[in-house]
């Protein structure tokens, strides 16, 4: 579904009613600039998202800490290869 929205001289646009109606189930939306595009994105409830996430993976505190460190090393390794 694509809408072309006219813009007033003041830069105001009106979101079509159908889209506004679709958005009514969300508490808020966020407008994010990504490159040359603008994305109007409904914001979901973070508690609901977390509640719905299921995993059977179990990691120790040390493994999580190592993953945290790896998150920084990962980028270096990708760029420069493993240091000998």
């Amino acid at each position: 579904m694509i809408y072309t929205l006219p813009m007033t001289k003041k830069g105001t646009i009106t979101i079509p009613k159908k889209i506004r109606d679709d958005m009514k189930s969300y508490e808020k939306v966020v407008l994010i600039k990504k490159g040359n595009t603008y994305i109007l994105r409904p914001v979901l409830d973070f508690m609901e998202i977390a509640e719905n996430f299921k995993t059977d993976k179990v990691f120790t505190d040390q493994e999580i800490e190592q993953a945290r460190i790896d998150s920084h090393l990962h980028r270096d390794a990708k760029r420069y290869g493993k240091q000998k």
């Binding site: 808020k28 966020v30 994010i32 600039k33 990504k34 490159g35 994305i39 994105r41 914001v43 979901l44 409830d45 973070f46 508690m47 998202i49 977390a50 719905n52 996430f53 995993t55 993976k57 179990v58 990691f59 493994e63 999580i64 993953a67 945290r68 790896d70 998150s71 990962h74 980028r75 990708k78 760029r79």
Partner: protein, 134 residues
């Protein structure tokens, strides 16, 4: 905008990871309590972009969390009024890049910075360079 009279906290990566994955009940309870207070607008939480980057890495690489769930979760957290992040708009944009581009979060953050400040990116990473020139 955050309420300046609220008590302020800064959170570590493991609070969001424990909350999202429910990996430890004690930690989950503490995280749940703080995030509920955040949601009610009763506390402010500082969330540096480096913590977001670590959460993205751990949840996606360790826990195989889908990009959509991960991005929805972090956008929802970042857009809470009590979240204080000096580069919130850049982190939000970086998360959008992360969801749709095949780049790691640090690269997405660079792309978002480049756009926001209208800068030219200098990198020796060919893939990133190509994306930046599009």
């Amino acid at each position: 905008m955050e309420n300046k009279s609220n008590k302020e906290y800064i959170i570590d990566t493991n609070l969001l990871v424990s909350y999202f994955t429910k990996r430890n009940l004690t930690e989950w309870n503490i995280a749940q309590e703080k995030l509920l207070l955040l949601k009610k607008g009763l506390i402010n939480i500082h969330l540096p972009s480096i913590i977001i980057a670590e959460v993205v890495y751990i949840l996606s690489k360790q826990y195989d969390c889908s990009k959509t769930d991960l991005v929805n979760f972090l956008i929802a957290i970042l857009t809470e009024e009590g979240i204080i992040a000096e580069d919130k708009h850049i982190s939000l944009s970086a998360l959008e890049f992360f969801e749709t581009e095949n780049l790691d979060f640090a690269d997405c953050y660079l792309m978002a910075c480049k756009d926001y400040y209208n800068l030219e990116l200098i990198t020796f990473d060919k893939k990133l360079n190509n994306k930046a020139k599009k």
